[in-house]
């Protein structure tokens, strides 16, 4: 108590305290210590994007890489938040949908399917249509629907 009282009696200490308070207000501590941003790399033969709708459609030999995940497909759509704000067209990737001969590879796991939907915000992957999971050389199973939560590594 005495320490606090004597500390705040000094004018420069009050200034430092106010500065630290304002720094924490404008730059939350959480962001200072959070993970660095993840980079998605996508390549394809062709692409078409609609500026107003905020949709990029990629065709032929589409490959997406994110950390240890690789998606390969015939077609891929990137959906951005359709915001009217200036500079906001490509600032918020909402969803990625891969369609046609989709191959999802992760370490020793390979999943084939017709369609994969990936939501970067929720860190969730939904795999549908003729899902075939192969782990290692001989272990595997088939399903119609598979959900992977990348945050908690849940398989549903």
């Amino acid at each position: 108590m005495f320490f606090f009282r004597s500390y705040f009696l000094k004018p420069y200490s009050i200034l430092i305290f106010c500065f630290l308070l304002s720094v924490n207000f404008f730059i939350p501590i959480q962001t200072l210590f959070s993970e660095p941003n993840k980079e998605v790399l996508i390549s394809s033969n062709n692409a078409k994007f609609d500026q107003n709708l905020g949709i990029i459609l990629l065709n032929e030999n589409v490959i997406l890489k994110l950390n240890n995940l690789t998606f390969k497909s015939d077609e891929m759509k990137l959906f951005f938040d359709n915001s009217d704000a200036i500079d906001d067209n490509f600032s918020n990737l909402k969803k990625i949908i891969a369609k046609g001969n989709v191959l999802f590879e992760r370490e020793k796991e390979t999943i084939k399917s017709d369609l994969v939907s990936f939501s970067p915000k929720e860190n969730k992957i939904t795999i549908t249509g003729n899902v075939k999971v192969v782990k290692g050389k001989n272990v595997g199973f088939t399903s119609d629907l598979l959900e992977i939560n990348l945050k908690n590594e849940f398989l549903n």
């Binding site: 062709n46 500026q51 990629l58």
Partner: protein
């Protein structure tokens, strides 16, 4: 004194290549011109227009339809509501075909992205923008690299642009 004159070979382009300058030189035989610190502007019935400042402009091969300019900055309106800013080392304006070519390194700046490349064509008659050279879109969270580009007006919406990228696409995006 500021001099203003028109360079036009096509009736569709009502005020094509209006040139404003303080310095105008005509060759001794009258078939050559060179303009320093010029402003070029043009507009057509479709609502397309351009307004370009050039350090120097001159004819190419002493023929009037093609005017060349160096150190280019300016604005282009593609349709009435789509507005872009341009920067380029060299520009060529063909007043007959209404094609503006930027080359030797260009930048197109929009409020949403910046497009950089080596060469690009604005066909103000057909309302298209094309490039056969590799180019890069830069935006706040990443970039898109493409081999060839064609920008056309969307059939669904009047003021919507469709970007068609061919010959290889690479996207880098920061989540």
């Amino acid at each position: 004194m500021i001099m203003i004159f028109f360079v036009s070979t096509n009736s569709d382009f009502e005020t094509t290549s209006l040139v404003e300058t303080k310095d105008f030189n005509i060759g001794s035989e009258g078939d050559f011109f060179l303009v320093d610190n010029a402003k070029l502007s043009g507009s057509n019935k479709l609502g397309n227009s351009f307004n370009i400042k050039a350090y120097k402009i001159n004819q190419i091969n002493n023929k009037l339809p093609i005017i060349s300019g160096s150190k280019i900055t300016g604005d282009i309106n593609i349709s009435s509501k789509i507005h872009i800013q341009i920067k380029a080392k060299i520009a060529e304006i063909n007043t007959k075909s209404n094609v503006l070519k930027l080359f030797g390194g260009f930048q197109i700046i929009n409020e949403k992205y910046k497009l950089i490349g080596k060469e690009i064509f604005f066909d103000l008659k057909k309302n298209t923008i094309t490039s056969d050279q590799p180019l890069t879109f830069l935006f706040s969270k990443g970039e898109i690299q493409g081999g060839k580009l064609q920008i056309i007006n969307s059939e669904n919406k009047e003021n919507d642009l469709l970007f068609l990228i061919n010959d290889g696409v690479k996207i880098k995006y920061l989540l």
